[in-house]
Symmetry: C2
Subunit: 402 residues, 2 copies
Amino acid sequence: MGVFSDASNYAGNPVEEQDEIAKELIKRGRKVIKLSRGDPAVYFKTPKYIIDAYVKALREGRSQYEYFYGAQELREAIAQRYKRMYALDLNVEEDIIATNGVSEALIFLNNVLMNRGDRAIMFRPFYTLYKSLLEINHGKALYGSYDEENGWAIDLDHLRKAVKKATRVKYMLITNPNNPTGTVLGRKIMEEVVDIANDNDILLVSDEIYDEILFNGAHFTSLAQIAKGTRHVILNGASKNFDSPGFRIGYMIVPGNDKISKEFKERVVRYAQMRLSVNTPAQYAVAEGMRNVKEHRKAIKYMVKEIADRTNFAYKLINESKYMDAVMPNGAFYVLPRLNIKDIKIKDDTEFAKRLLLEANVQVTRGSGFGSKNHIRIVTLPEKEIIREAMERIDSFCKKNK
Amino acid sequence: MGVFSDASNYAGNPVEEQDEIAKELIKRGRKVIKLSRGDPAVYFKTPKYIIDAYVKALREGRSQYEYFYGAQELREAIAQRYKRMYALDLNVEEDIIATNGVSEALIFLNNVLMNRGDRAIMFRPFYTLYKSLLEINHGKALYGSYDEENGWAIDLDHLRKAVKKATRVKYMLITNPNNPTGTVLGRKIMEEVVDIANDNDILLVSDEIYDEILFNGAHFTSLAQIAKGTRHVILNGASKNFDSPGFRIGYMIVPGNDKISKEFKERVVRYAQMRLSVNTPAQYAVAEGMRNVKEHRKAIKYMVKEIADRTNFAYKLINESKYMDAVMPNGAFYVLPRLNIKDIKIKDDTEFAKRLLLEANVQVTRGSGFGSKNHIRIVTLPEKEIIREAMERIDSFCKKNK
């Protein structure tokens, strides 16, 4: 037995693995362009009405521990949001649990379900944390795939085969809109996924944290709209749609009232008790963020318009480059270009990302961190001039290594 | 293999297990006195200068993800605090990790260290979460004891024997000032504990979250002052001393630079990466809370004077009762009276706490949740009139069940 846990070998987040090097470079005076972290608040001011609500909560003395389930006001606002947007009727008292970001919701999901050797189905490319949070809980990933040749849609034949052979599958996890590809799943494909989950009695989990960041004509379908009768969980939060990642407000929705869903909720709540409370005043800020529909519509409309513009600009420059190709995004704020690695004298995406930071001072995330070798993930939030500058640096970095 | 993880059988927090019942009673119009949760902000307004700093951080746009290690300003303020209070020299870049309360620090501790069947030494009575957070990580508790006959001091003979027989011990965890007993460990005893840890090469962890809430002439010694050369970890946070539990700001200090301590820190940080960030503006609020020594001294002086007064009052009433006896607290804000259970026709502390809530509408925490059967933990934060009312209700509840 070692000094440390085996589980801790799997801990970490590829998105942040170069942050310490980037900090060091900045300290030495280098102008580093960070396209690694999906943080809208770096580029868009958090809406004033949300900040005002946060301040109000603080001035009113909301610095006590909140109820471990989450503040009543927040859970009510979430229920109203799902009623308004997806015609979903939620039981405020039982179906919604506030979490420290979606990260904690994912932690709870794995905590409650995984025994050593249990499996979860996720799709490649996946969001980095899905894999590490599964593996620190002794679970094993089983991969379906998003098909790059088909606009990153789910490869259903591949999925059906994979599920058929699989045993001990505890959940299947989809992301919509997708991180890292920025694409949105079509309703028909999702209905097929629901059927597959249903036929195989697999809990279906949908991470929908970018569900209002849609453009280029995307049609988004929430799992909530089509999964009635199938056991399912929806993950969401305020970080992206409400432009407040530093508040750390996420939530888990479990609409089912069957015996297993009920026990699942009870067990999640017992984990929630062990961290006592989510940040209290932030919960009231986000509740107001959701309740004030008029202000929110204004803010999200502006932000999404800008994100669309910047993302399309990044997409155009990427596809103009000889060294990269990408599928066009229509949601979230990422592009996942494939590197034409044969034309570049660099071993793989890991080395590419490492040297790109050191030599061209652009920080991106290696695709292998998302299970997608020889790709890189680019955050498309910065102003166009910054994106242009970054793309020029990437292009001349590639040229140098031709 | 079941539907749920084995680990999740161990999840939960006895402090909160009656919260849903209490909520229900309050909804039905009952005047429930809650003496269960140690939340100073319910009874003392969080100092204005801290709220002002929080508001300032929000107005300045601090709603982005923070560095996973914690904000530089906060880590600097923590280092200054430990320099000022305990003459400890910390490396700001490496030795301090901000966490979502001490709860998350405890989660990381267990995540990084425990393999199935590994052990941790804790002392009975322990803080509820020590046991559950160990067990959900497949660890087993090995109990030393705080001796009630000896003012809840550590029973050193018992500890030496227990350690001698033990294998696979990953850490030993003390709490000072103590929750649930409200007592403070003497320096000599702590030095003995350090020696025992050192002789047996056991990582020593000290939870010192109440280190400024001292009265009745208590002399507090931080592990930081006496553990040089012994591998150790200190846990602390803003919830109690800075009266802001709802901010969820805790931290872990690892002063060592030996190879194992260094790797320990690296592994903790990889867990921190997976939840991206602690609430950002709250970190700046707490940084100011610590930096503004003058304002803090005023606030803590007032709060501790009141807590001392209320705790001594509760202690007096408890010892006047025929049904309870307690050791006098000199820190934190709890008393852990022993129930003279033979004089009461109630099976044990669990049933006592349950029926006390239902029949007398006083919520306390059962001692067995702290590993101390036939005791109850009483929070001594409320105003004296409330404490008097609660004690009268407890006394007449006991009388009825004589």
